[in-house]
């Protein structure tokens, strides 16, 4: 058992709207990330993936509010800290965050090296420009980026290169955890591969200890991360290793997500893809009982009455459904048979 880098217990955060309505976008989420491991978070848009990422940083600004739970990074509890303290001592050095449009952070009127200078000087006051350049060059070399990028303006770089530059900058202060929130979904497939390769290099070279990768593309998660967690309507509905979650999903929602994968493999054209009907529920007044009930094919009357707890499925797997593992597998087999005939 390697040591835990990030441990989150029963984290609940909410948004407060203009009309003082509470929206619980992250609802009792617990997760663990070990050293050298990566965790993938999957789910549709509006399921609370990005809110979870923001909540994990401990950096709360209205309308986002912290409610309850614990966030431990390397044994240090950061859940009750003030945003100012978080910015000074946590962001960049303990946790680093890459949003989807990270490349927009670059200032079009300044060179890339200036951007990196700003980052380092915010944390280390007495450092010369020469040292900064040397450090940046070394970092870029480790990550396989050309060093002449440092002296260029953002307009001279392609989208993929800009994104990689910002990601490189975010691992500059050697954070323990890197949270990548859809870092590649605005890019084409080739640039996406370069970004993934760079993230993996950062992992292997010890620049980051662990990674949380958020995306809605499951083939990508299967190839990038060790574990996968599926979120739906603010709750975790399934967690397990990447292989198990992709090839043998337990929760009907996870099964539905797997059914809509499109990859250029032989036999794709003969498969009938099944998208999940409907949209995620509005979290202003979430449904009682199972939140997936109204879109679920295998719904039962008792699904909508009691709230459903996360069930242990053995081997570190867990899922949130009233049906047992065997019942679910049988239901899926029957469904597949019905589709085939």
């Amino acid at each position: 058992m390697s040591n835990l880098i990030l441990e989150v217990r029963d984290l609940t955060t909410k948004y407060v709207t203009r009309f003082m309505e509470d929206v619980y976008a992250v609802d009792h989420v617990s997760l663990k990330v070990e050293e050298g491991k990566s965790l993938g978070i999957a789910g549709e848009s509006g399921c609370g993936k990005s809110t979870l990422a923001l909540s994990l940083m401990g950096y709360y600004f209205p309308p986002l509010h912290y409610m309850s739970g614990e966030i431990n990074i390397n044994g240090q509890n950061i859940s009750g800290m003030k945003p100012d303290d978080v910015r000074k001592s946590i962001l960049g050095t303990e946790i680093s965050y890459i949003p989807q449009a990270a490349m927009n952070a670059l200032n079009p009127t300044q060179k890339i090296i200036h951007f990196i200078e700003d980052v380092i000087k915010a944390h280390e006051l007495y450092i010369t420009k020469k040292d900064i350049y040397e450090r940046a060059r070394k970092l870029f070399e480790t990550l396989g980026l050309p060093a002449d990028v440092l002296q260029k303006y953002p307009v001279e770089l392609s989208g993929g290169m800009k994104q990689r530059t910002v990601i490189a900058t975010s691992v500059l202060l050697l954070p323990k955890v890197l949270i990548a929130d859809e870092p590649s979904s605005a890019l084409d497939v080739t640039s996406q591969k370069m970004v993934i390769k760079m993230l993996r290099q950062a992992m292997e070279n010890g620049l980051i200890d662990s990674m949380i990768f958020i995306t809605h593309e499951l083939p990508l998660l299967k190839n990038v991360t060790d574990d996968i967690m599926v979120m739906y309507a603010g709750q975790i509905v399934e967690k397990g290793t990447a292989e198990e979650t992709v090839f043998d999903p337990l929760h009907p929602y996870a099964k539905g997500l797997m059914g809509s994968i499109i990859v250029p493999e032989k036999g794709l054209r003969n498969v009938k893809l099944t998208a999940i009907p409907g949209v995620p529920p509005n979290l202003k007044n979430p449904p009682t009982g199972c939140r997936f009930a109204e879109r679920c094919k295998f719904v039962k009357p008792e699904c909508t009455t009691n709230s459903i707890a996360l069930r242990d499925a053995g081997g570190g797997r867990a899922y949130r459904c009233i049906l047992s593992k065997e019942e679910l597998r049988e239901a899926y087999a029957r469904e597949a048979y019905k589709n085939a005939s």
Binding site: L220, V246, V263, R269
Partner: protein
Amino acid sequence: MPAEKKPCLSGTALTKVFGFGSQKTVAVDHVDFNFYESEIVSIVGESGSGKTTLAKMLLGLISSTEGEIYFQGKKRDIRTQKKKQEYWRNIQAIFQDPFSSYNIFNKIDSVLLDCIRMRGGGRFSHDKKVELMTEACSFVNLKFAELTNKYPFELSGGQMQRLMIARIFLLKPKILLADEPTSMIDASSRATILDYLMKLRNETGMTTIFITHDIGLAYYVSDSIYIMEHGKFVESGSADKVILYPSQKYTQRLISDVPKIHEEWDLSTV
């Protein structure tokens, strides 16, 4: 697929050059193509390979530097505004960003009402219009009664893109040009959009040109695939031939760039 294939849209030595002198950029470089009737054609390439420039030329939004476009066997003539509008009755487009495709001040049904007016139904009775709109909405599995008093921001990206398809269903053009219609929406609603594109083709027999960078989507949806690299078509043919037996290095690279489920993803190639 009909027994004899008639080309619906074809081009000979189509070229677009931006700038001149030392600043010259050849975006589309002498491409020849034949898009046959009631066929779904995919154009696949990296960003910067000239896919969108080609699309704009096909739509008549920008002029070509060289070469000709033939529409249903005749040379396309869009020199006057009237002829251009006539041409646009035959070709329609769905764009990448559904959020900017709508007028945010107008309600949803105004989008569909405009389409009915364009098809000459401006003087239809109210009931007839509602019937047409309900039919179009039910084609993409939306409920018109729920949409009628909504504004675009109240819909999700997938719903907006489905409504764009409903719009195409009302207009019934000869050609539909879909420029990355699935890249800004969820992976789980992607399959739905592609299924509706195929359903549209099956029911109305329109030629669909599908532009994408993800070769997996192209393989799922299309009958034939054109691979574009630096403004040129490097490989073309039926979808099965191009994906399962690719002959060009560039095609092989595009296929290997997409993360797969049953095969290991080789990261060493970039």
